[in-house]
Symmetry: C2
Subunit: 186 residues, 2 copies
Amino acid sequence: MRRASKTKYTILGFLTIRPMSGYDMKKSMEKTTGNFWSESPGQLYPELKKLLKGKYIQCEDQTTEGGRPRKVYSITSKGKKMLKDWLKQPAEMPVARDEVFLKLFFGKNMPIAESIRHVERRLVKAKEVNNYFLWLQKHIDEEHNEVEDIPFWKIMLNHGFYIIKAEMEWCKDAIKNLKQLSKKVV
Amino acid sequence: MRRASKTKYTILGFLTIRPMSGYDMKKSMEKTTGNFWSESPGQLYPELKKLLKGKYIQCEDQTTEGGRPRKVYSITSKGKKMLKDWLKQPAEMPVARDEVFLKLFFGKNMPIAESIRHVERRLVKAKEVNNYFLWLQKHIDEEHNEVEDIPFWKIMLNHGFYIIKAEMEWCKDAIKNLKQLSKKVV
DNA sequence: ACGACCATGTAAAACGTTACATGATTTA
DNA sequence: TAAATCATGTAACGTTTTACATGGTCGT
């Protein structure tokens, strides 16, 4: 069977944090789940309409008198049921695709200095992500209204720290190994 | 700009290991880069034809007299050039999408025991992957004809070890935290 | 004889992103 | 007043998977 889109569950899940608009959702997502999950507007808005039609969510139109549009969605009990059913099913493993590793795997076809550059760039990004996590750790409480989410978010943030630390350590290790290798070749 | 397909570079890269058929490529890919890169037949075969047409690869038909088809491709100098040009360009960061984390992020909407189950399943998979890496470490030399690839492959394998170790540690940590949490709730 | 694997290849359908269109409001 | 951000939404397009079709070969 075709790998089904998870956009609807993402929407449903975010609406358990608090009622919000499509735009809010996108912003909140970038901030909180951006490192392991994201959705694009081209998926989000059409799915919002479908869920509304199916009564999984409801909509309160908060468009201002001036005309600035704003639709605030909230989850219905039907929506909660669908979310819960999905939550308890085992998750599919992700399809891994990380370009830089593919390039490094083909490393013999470029000067070692180029490989090193790839890893260095990766290390820079990893450090940025790590800093972001550090920031998020301080500001995690600000995102929402209910405290029940926090323990789970912290567990996920913790995952981020574990992985990014391993990534940074590997980068340093790999740079060392590659430098060693370039000496041998000479 | 639209995220371009990397299938052609994947093919080109694999053909620097040794001449092989589309089928070989798929097998080799699953074995070696499966944890960070893969391609499906629906991408592989059409791209093989395009690359052949563009003279980036060449084909030797080794179809047996009985009629069993086998097309062995090898890379041309034009192909090598294209590969090298791509290799030195900075890599794009992957779009992260890992379903189990999305579920865990929404953890407040299910019994904690379910969250624990998700993490336990993840730990089982992580251990399997770790065992696979261990196996691969012993058999890495068998895959190819030239030794020049090995140092780079070992660096990538090392990345696998770093990440999977972090993943396993986090899983154990998360299970502990979740159990702690379920006590508090009671 | 049967299943597993070798081997190529395509069609259909869904997935997902990007770019764009539109217009209001806030901030520097 | 210009730029950034708020905010919704769609069209176009390429990507990618899955399922299927086809048939050969090898081991048991």
